[in-house]
């Protein structure tokens, strides 16, 4: 595997990395969230502010409100690894220009050089975590037979617009937490369960949103322990438990001086005091509010219970299925299903959280290109109102077009090939009514998104409904997401039979090779 990669495909891999890098860098030249919008600015200022706080204050004060650390102004509300990362970046910033992280006086710092610095920290994070993790994943997955397909799969994963636009445009470091999760998947699929648990614990300690993925990890490892034949199940479980606990212990060490300190961190991480959802999110509750105004009917405490209950109930099918059949294929699908359930039903969801589901789908893209590609397009579209607010419309069009071109001309759409003009990867199979219907729905769904996007940019909504377009976009995406969640569940439950499909596709490809 490795040697064939080094032979002829090394140059192509190098090209893939170069293209992925230049696209990220170009996007980063656009405006970031909250650019020039005092007094609070946006996520960019939040990350910068954390550098300021961590560099100037001792760790035990990071999460506490004080005269030097006003928690109302972007107080640190991510787990310790993020804080350490901020500290590291802050130290580098201090070395380059101390004014960037000077306590208090640096608030709202925004000049081109500082922006270049911040942007390059995200790129470095991608190089160190996200890129290697994705490489490792596609090197070790056994679903890809040809080197060319491997290159294409990596390229498609790197060029997924959602994560590029949020990390390099809006400004966040999702590449780190999601990259660590991908790394954990690689470890689990190569039977390194302990390393996998450690990588995932690190991801959790970088961003608490990774809890969306926690259930599949737990069920897969638990199921694996219970069905272990070579080893005593309890012993295996204990080993994993020790690894997880000690990883957490090490990450939290500076905050374990007192119970109060640890609890304060926890309190910062899970702010139930916030609302049911922020802005317009394409999840179940936000869409439901078009019909039923839940927020006016119930108290916040009741809402938390309702959300928690619904999420848990919806989480059960895929979790139990995985627990009973802990195979790696089901595990990857459960990652999608669990994060989709959280996204649709949990409390306080951001539109960006769709990335947590989208990255596992990126990893499945080569297995069933058609539905995954469709999902990934819609997931990017669902963040459109946010991207418009950040001034990233042009970047969205560009990365979207790039991704669409690369994917439609290089992915193997199997039975749907004939519905993609210009795609000649596998033998066009005969059209039938069901496929025609689904393909038509795909193109109509894309057309609908484009129309909605264009309308939201060009038309002024009526005065009574100022949020008309964001609401329409989120409801439109939500309908898709519900259907996709059902589809991915169905895929997980029928997972064993999917191998025949891959085999079928490889034989179709061989047939084509013979013909040419």
């Amino acid at each position: 595997m490795m040697s064939s990669l080094l032979d002829g495909h090394l140059t192509k891999i190098v090209l893939v990395v170069l293209v992925a890098t230049v696209v990220r860098w170009c996007v980063s030249l656009n405006s970031h969230s909250g650019q020039g919008k005092p007094p609070m600015f946006g996520d960019y200022e939040a990350q910068r502010h954390w550098m300021e706080i961590t560099v100037n204050l001792p760790p035990k004060e990071w999460y506490f409100n004080s005269s030097a650390n006003d928690l109302q102004y972007w107080g640190l509300d991510y787990p310790p690894l993020t804080a350490y990362h901020s500290w590291l970046c802050g130290m580098i910033a201090k070395f380059i220009n101390p004014e960037w992280v000077a306590l208090y006086s640096s608030r709202g710092v925004d000049n081109p050089t500082h922006k270049l610095f911040m942007r390059s920290t995200v790129l470095v994070a991608d190089f160190l975590v996200f890129f290697p993790a994705v490489f490792a994943y596609f090197l070790y997955t056994d679903k890809i037979k040809f080197d060319k397909d491997r290159t294409i799969a990596i390229l498609c994963c790197f060029l997924y617009p959602g994560i590029i636009l949020i990390d390099h445009g809006h400004f966040q470091y999702n590449g780190i937490s999601l990259g660590l999760t991908v790394l954990a998947v690689v470890f689990l699929s190569t039977d390194h369960d302990l390393l996998g648990s450690m990588a995932f614990s690190l991801a959790l300690n970088y961003k608490q949103m990774e809890l969306y993925h926690a259930m599949p990890f737990f069920c897969y490892l638990m199921g694996k322990c219970l069905t272990a034949e070579k080893e005593n199940w309890f012993f295996k479980l204990a080993k994993i438990g020790i690894v997880v606990i000690s990883t957490f212990f090490l990450c939290w060490l500076p905050f374990l001086t007192s119970a109060e300190s640890a609890l304060q961190v926890l309190h910062r991480l899970f702010p139930f005091a916030r609302g049911l959802y922020e802005d317009k999110v394409s999840n179940f509750w936000c869409t439901l509010s078009l019909v039923v105004k839940l927020r006016q009917m119930m108290s916040r405490e009741d809402l938390v219970v309702l959300c928690g209950g619904t999420t848990l109930a919806a989480l059960l099918p895929s979790s139990i299925n995985l627990l009973r059949n802990p195979t790696i294929d089901r595990f990857k699908l459960a990652l999608v299903n669990s994060s989709m359930v959280f996204f649709l039903f949990s409390f306080q969801v951001h539109e960006k959280s769709i990335l947590i589901a989208a990255i596992p789908v990126c990893l499945l893209l080569h297995e069933r290109p058609f539905p995954c590609f469709w999902f990934l397009l819609i997931s990017t579209f669902s963040m459109f109102p946010l991207l418009v607010m950040d001034g990233l419309v042009v970047a969205t069009i560009a990365t979207g077009l790039l991704y669409f071109t690369i994917a439609t001309s290089n992915l193997d759409f199997g039975p749907y090939t004939s519905y993609f003009p210009g795609n000649r990867i596998s033998v066009p199979q005969e059209r039938n009514d069901v496929r025609l219907l689904i393909a038509t729905m795909f193109w109509l769904s894309l057309l609908g998104s484009v129309v909605l996007a264009v309308a939201s940019l060009t038309l002024t909504p009526p005065k009574k409904l100022p949020d008309l377009f964001p609401v329409l976009i989120s409801a439109y995406s939500c309908c898709h997401f519900v259907l996709f969640t059902l589809y991915f569940h169905w895929w997980q439950f029928t997972c064993g039979s999917s191998e025949t499909m891959t085999k079928h596709r490889v034989s179709a490809r061989n047939e084509k090779k013979k013909r040419t």
């Binding site: 230049v22 860098w25 656009n30 270049l116 290089n410 795609n423 000649r424």
Partner: protein, 525 residues
């Protein structure tokens, strides 16, 4: 990417990504022209001088700006106001950038025509693979040309659609539709007169192959001269020029227009020396001057003047040791450098490929010896040369060498920190693609350090670009020479590239001559 349109969509997406990048003063130049053509009557276009960036392109380009300005005024009315100097609102940037991206489709269409109609692939190559399929590879090399990308879509100019007209005209020549080719080329000349450099090739080719016929052995049949055809050609060309310059002749403004188009008051070299013969000449002069001063051979009166050569201002400059160069001398040198190419075309006219070779040699000659040549003019050599790159291995080799050197010489055009990674990565992507793809198409002889298809000295030269760039971007400031000798990085880039360009020019001449010899012996058999 399965077809040319897929490649076009990919490259267009990259162009849209480049929208927020830095744009040079050329952006303001074109905005000013929008304003001038929109707010003033035709009679004042070539007199208006509120902005220092006066209209200095031929009338068709002015009309093109006129058309654009009538869309522009709906996008942002402030854009077309003459006194709004350096106006660059968000809407203005989007409008101007998209006007380049959209007009580029003329070029994309022309490339598609060429790839599908004129290219004769070396071998039957696998369908749908951009690396090993000649048609797709050429489409990538041309549509995704690094030089065009950075000059048009970062620096800001409209070369894409102008080269599109040139390509279309070349396609018509391949198809034997000579009158249409002449029409297109005459139109192009009236858009941007820099293409006058390659006009001799058109003149000789059309005269030779449209007005005369070949004997069986390929030599000219003097008796076959057709005055009628010459008359038709002449009418077409004069008609186009009449449409363009007619109104100005009628208004008696021709001298004013001409003086705007050919500003001979500028210096021998542009602020950054284009990598040509004069760059080497300047370096020799400078070296002689420095050694001379050190050895106290002559009084040091010129030293302050010599230091400002690449200071960034366009001005006349006297050489310290070597004789100063007058415009007429560059004209003579250019003329002499292209005469052999024209002679070769006249003697051995074996179809459109000889024409493309001659056209490239004309561009080479004027680039090497012209007066006040811009580094961007290297595109006029690289783009026609890429047409030949996929048919013969020798031409492919030289293309790789010249394209890499020439593209590298464009680096100083973008000097901002934010754009540095972009230019380096885009250049790497283009170069690696070109080497891999041509390597796969012609078969890869990989030997140690050697790059695919190149000889050892050529490979060493190309790899030498890496230390040159490292020195320019890091080494020079590390050595703390940036205040004492600020011009060194530019001079080094320019001189190093000039060596490569000169080598390519001589080798291309030799290849063309050899080509004609081979064709001739084939015909005799």
């Amino acid at each position: 990417m399965q077809n040319v349109w897929g490649i076009a969509a990919f490259v267009t997406a990259v162009k849209i990504l480049l929208i927020p990048t830095y744009h040079s003063t050329d952006f303001e130049v074109h905005r000013n022209w929008l304003a001038v053509t929109n707010s003033l009557p035709l009679s004042k276009w070539y007199y208006e001088a509120t902005s220092e960036w006066t209209l200095d392109y031929p009338p068709f380009f002015a009309w093109f700006e006129f058309l654009l300005s009538h869309i522009a005024k709906y996008v942002d009315p402030q854009m077309v106001v003459i006194k709004n100097l350096n106006y660059a609102s968000h809407a203005t940037v989007l409008f101007q950038r998209f006007s380049v991206i959209i007009t580029d489709f003329v070029y994309i269409y022309a490339v598609k025509e060429f790839c599908e109609k004129c290219l004769r692939p070396v071998k039957r190559s696998p369908e749908g693979d951009v690396f090993s399929n000649s048609v797709l590879s050429l489409a990538v090399l041309m549509i995704g040309n690094f030089g065009l990308l950075i000059v048009d879509h970062i620096h800001f100019q409209y070369n894409g659609f102008l080269f599109g007209i040139l390509m279309l005209s070349i396609v018509r020549i391949y198809e034997g539709r000579n009158l249409e080719a002449a029409l297109l080329f005459a139109t192009l000349l009236n858009f941007k007169h820099i293409f006058l450099y390659v006009a001799p090739a058109y003149f000789i080719y059309l005269l030779r192959s449209h007005c005369f016929q070949n004997a069986k052995d390929g030599s000219i049949l003097w008796t076959s001269f057709s005055p009628l055809r010459l008359l038709k050609l002449g009418t077409v060309v004069l008609m186009v020029c009449g449409m363009s310059f007619g109104p100005f002749i009628a208004m008696g403004q021709l001298p004013q227009v001409i003086s705007r188009l050919f500003p001979f008051k500028r210096g021998l070299c542009h602020a950054y020396w284009a990598p040509n013969f004069w760059a080497l000449y300047n370096v020799v002069d400078k070296a002689a001057h420095i050694t001379g001063t050190k050895l106290n051979l002559f009084p040091s009166t010129n030293s302050s003047q010599a230091a400002v050569m690449t200071g960034g201002l366009v001005q006349e400059f006297n050489h310290a040791v070597l004789p100063s160069v007058k415009p007429i001398a560059t004209l003579v040198a250019t003329g002499l450098s292209i005469v052999p190419a024209l002679f070769l075309l006249w003697r051995g006219c074996y179809g459109p490929k000889s024409f493309v070779r001659c056209l490239t040699l004309c561009a080479f000659g004027s680039f090497m010896f012209g007066w006040h040549v811009h580094e961007k003019a290297i595109l006029l050599i690289i783009i026609p040369m890429s047409l030949l790159a996929l048919e013969k291995k020798r031409d492919g080799q030289l293309f790789l060498f010249l394209a890499t050197t020439g593209h590298f010489s464009l680096f100083p055009l973008l000097f901002t920190i934010a754009e540095t990674p972009i230019k380096i990565i885009l250049m790497l992507v283009y170069t690696i693609f070109a080497f891999t793809s041509l390597g796969e198409i012609f078969g890869l002889p990989r030997r140690g350090l050697c790059l695919p298809l190149l000889s050892i000295p050529e490979s060493l030269y190309i790899l030498g670009l890496i230390p040159v760039q490292l020195y320019c971007s890091v080494g020079h400031s590390l050595l703390r020479l940036d205040e004492k000798l600020p011009f060194i990085p530019l001079m080094l880039t320019s001189a190093y590239c000039a060596l490569g360009v000169t080598y390519s020019w001589l080798r291309f001449y030799w290849l063309t001559w050899k080509d004609i010899c081979i064709e001739k012996s084939k015909k005799r058999e």
